[in-house]
């Protein structure tokens, strides 16, 4: 019995020692981002900066790794550590990091997040760096101005490295077969949906995004239809303008009649799969999904066209549809961080990045690249962005709950209208009220 007891206690001891050793082994060579970094005053001293990618995926991660590799070759003293964050959780990851004061040095940040992060004092203003940089005359000035405009203190907190534009992807082969004109106006758009629907053969004219992210799609279509500003001159929100009610009523009434029944829960993936597998003739997304379509559809059977024009013939686009690189205030190596920001926005990096992801470069010099000249979808985006009559409306990204209103009121609201639980008017009134309430609170806080 004594022996047994000893054996027993020995084995516990051994186990705990082994666990300790193994755990210690796991920590070997660990350098967390919380570890104090070397001060980077001297440019020869090796420094390490962390970079967070807000939209990691098997396609994008290798691109970032390539950009980082090139940057490190050009700047041997700076080591960049890449952290890829799944897109769905990226905002909450940033939120937690900001709350705990443990932000990365540089991050890829969507324009809509910039105002909020700036108010929370997480970002470093980049105005001085930008003014003194070669980038000043290269980066699309309207995108830069937009980023300044939405910040509460009108400072520049992010440099846009890729822009995007909502467009409609169409199956050109089906349109030709049916002899239907590619829609340029909203009347033609609705007619095309009707004509391209052939339920017996399992084909629909269009697919509505009724699930997650449907709010973005609807908002952009509504304003493209009306050509209105987000707020009128008196500061009243235009969401429930009669023009918008008229549009939403008609648009969502097409559900099930001319679009698949499953649309009510359509997220991005489902919607794009519908187009790529030959179920729908048109899908409203942006130029960024080019790569997905290319994978499943044959060249020449699809293309992208701008959103239909307003009644008076103007293109409308939502401002701020861009991704930026931002430097976080906590960085101990702001100069190294800025160097990386500059590198990401250089002609080479922007060209590599945007060609592979199918997005629109912001660096003017990239536009001369051959691939831009050969990419139909990028040319369409330029056609819209460079048209002097194109109207850019500005959603109130600066409202801290702008995004949560879209996610929690607008997304479910769309489903309720689609399923007939609510009228378009009730839904838009509710949406307008949420924005107005939030704006009142914001104006009070900042004494506007």
């Amino acid at each position: 019995m004594f022996m047994n007891k000893r054996k027993w206690s020995n084995s516990i001891l051994a186990l705990s020692m082994a666990s300790g050793l193994l755990l210690a082994g796991c920590s070997g060579g660990d350098e967390t981002s919380s570890t104090p970094k070397e001060s980077g005053g001297n440019s020869d001293e090796p420094v390490k900066i962390t970079f967070w990618d807000e939209n990691a995926s098997p396609e994008r991660t290798p691109l970032w790794e390539e950009v980082i590799k090139q940057f490190e070759e050009a700047n041997p003293s700076i080591d960049v550590e890449y952290v890829g964050i799944p897109n769905k959780s990226a905002k909450s990851k940033y939120d937690a990091a900001i709350a705990a004061n443990d932000t990365p040095d540089v991050g890829s940040v969507q324009t809509t997040w910039l105002p909020e992060f700036a108010i929370r004092d997480a970002l470093l203003p980049l105005d001085d760096y930008f003014e003194g940089s070669e980038l000043k005359d290269k980066i699309n000035s309207s995108a830069i101005d937009f980023n300044k405009k939405i910040a509460q203190d009108s400072k520049l907190y992010g440099i846009p490295y890729a822009q995007n534009l909502d467009t409609i992807w169409i199956r050109t082969d089906w349109f030709e077969e049916a002899g239907v004109k590619e829609p340029e106006t909203f009347d033609e758009f609705f007619t095309a949906i009707e004509k391209m629907t052939d339920k017996e053969n399992g084909r629909y004219g269009y697919t509505i995004r009724g699930g997650a992210g449907g709010s973005f799609q609807l908002q952009r279509l509504m304003f493209a239809y009306s050509g209105l500003d987000y707020f009128d001159e008196d500061g009243k929100v235009n969401i429930n303008d009669p023009k918008h009610v008229e549009f939403v009523e008609k648009y969502l009434s097409y559900y099930e009649k001319f679009t698949p029944k499953s649309d009510i829960t359509n997220g991005y993936k489902e919607m794009i799969a519908g187009f790529d597998t030959g179920v729908v003739a048109m899908v409203h997304h942006n130029v960024g999904s080019y790569g997905e379509h290319k994978k499943s559809l044959e060249e020449g059977t699809f293309k992208t066209i701008p959103l239909p024009k307003t009644e008076d013939g103007k293109f409308v686009a939502e401002g701020g549809n861009a991704v930026n690189v931002a430097v976080f205030k906590n960085t101990e190596n702001p100069d190294a961080a800025w160097k990386f920001v500059e590198f990401v926005n250089s002609v080479e990096s922007q060209s590599l990045w945007n060609e592979s992801t199918g997005q629109i470069p912001t660096n003017a010099d990239v536009l001369d690249d051959e691939w831009v000249q050969n990419a139909q979808h990028i040319k369409v985006a330029f056609e819209v962005y460079e048209n002097p009559d194109t109207k850019l409306y500005e959603p109130p990204f600066y409202l801290p709950d702008y995004r949560s209103i879209l996610d929690n009121i607008v997304d479910p609201g769309i489903q309720q209208v689609m399923s007939g639980e609510k009228t378009a008017k009730e839904f838009l009134d509710e949406w307008a009220k949420a924005i107005e309430d939030s704006k009142t609170k914001y104006d009070e806080t900042f004494n506007k």
């Binding site: 995926s57 994008r60 550590e81 952290v83 705990a100």
Partner: protein
């Protein structure tokens, strides 16, 4: 006649429902494997291929080497293994105390254990992040091991207390009359009878750590320290999803769970039923 009826009965009440249930549960798994074995172009091609026309393992190779599943897998195993060990030791001992001893405040203690289960995980993220940051444990497997252990212990303690109550106290007393010490009677009498419960609790804990996403993402700021669910999730970008690699990654993530269940199946059924043959 009777035996024919019996056969029919068995078919209708046993085999048919089982077959139905099996097809429901197996279909997604079959589809995942099917997708994982297809080259990228074939995955969303119509008509659908129910058997891959050009089977390939390229997705597995890609997920394992290019995306870093080998690392994620190792991280998940480390976190899972140590969490299970710590949880089992703690919950067996505390479960024993709860089941065998009467002490003041026992009921309110049990209630407190239950109450911890009502706190939404998302609420704990920022406080946990700050605590681990101050400890210098962000991106360290220990942060996850500690968190998972703390999250799991209340539930597994209650579970274990239930299993231990099923072991007749008289067996322990008999062993002690025969000269065993408390520890010896625990080791030689209680533990062997408790094995199904321990296996069930261990499997339960392991599966939780294996699947947990939110805390794993939040407490890790280094690509090389991500666990499997975080790695899987970063396969789905906003504009592109690599279905093949995602499916291959899911299959890889499924393997340990399947092996574990296959091994623990017998114990698990006993454990869950709480039936201990004394």
């Amino acid at each position: 006649m009777l035996s024919a009826n019996k056969k029919l009965d068995k078919l209708l009440t046993l085999y048919l429902p089982l077959a139905l249930m099996l097809s429901f549960t197996m279909f997604p798994i079959y589809w995942t494997i099917n997708t994982a074995l297809k080259p990228e172009g074939d995955i969303i091609k119509r008509p659908l291929q129910y058997v891959p026309a050009n089977p390939t393992v390229e997705n597995f190779v890609y997920a394992w080497t290019n995306i870093g599943f080998a690392t994620f897998f190792k991280n998940s195993l480390i976190v899972g293994f140590f969490t299970v060990i710590i949880v089992l030791i703690c919950s067996t001992l505390s479960g024993y105390a709860l089941s065998r001893y009467q002490f003041k405040g026992k009921r309110s203690f049990m209630l407190m254990l239950l109450c911890t289960q009502f706190i939404p995980r998302a609420m704990m993220i920022i406080p946990l992040f700050i605590i681990f940051k101050n400890l210098g444990l962000i991106s360290h497997p220990l942060s996850l091991i500690i968190t998972y252990t703390a999250v799991e212990i209340p539930f597994t303690t209650i579970l274990m207390a239930g299993f231990i109550s099923n072991v007749p106290k008289e067996l322990e007393e008999a062993a002690m009359i025969d000269g065993c010490s408390k520890m010896q009677s625990l080791r030689h009498v209680v533990f062997p009878l408790l094995l199904p419960g321990i296996v069930a609790t261990g499997v339960f804990t392991f599966i939780y750590t294996w699947n947990e996403f939110l805390l794993a993402l939040m407490l890790t700021n280094q690509q090389s320290k991500f666990t499997l669910p975080v790695g899987l999730s970063s396969m789905m970008g906003e504009f592109n999803v690599n279905y093949g690699a995602l499916a291959a990654g899911s299959v890889i993530a499924l393997i340990p769970a399947v092996i574990l269940f296959a091994y623990a199946q017998k114990h698990l059924v006993n454990g869950m039923g709480g039936a201990v043959k004394g």
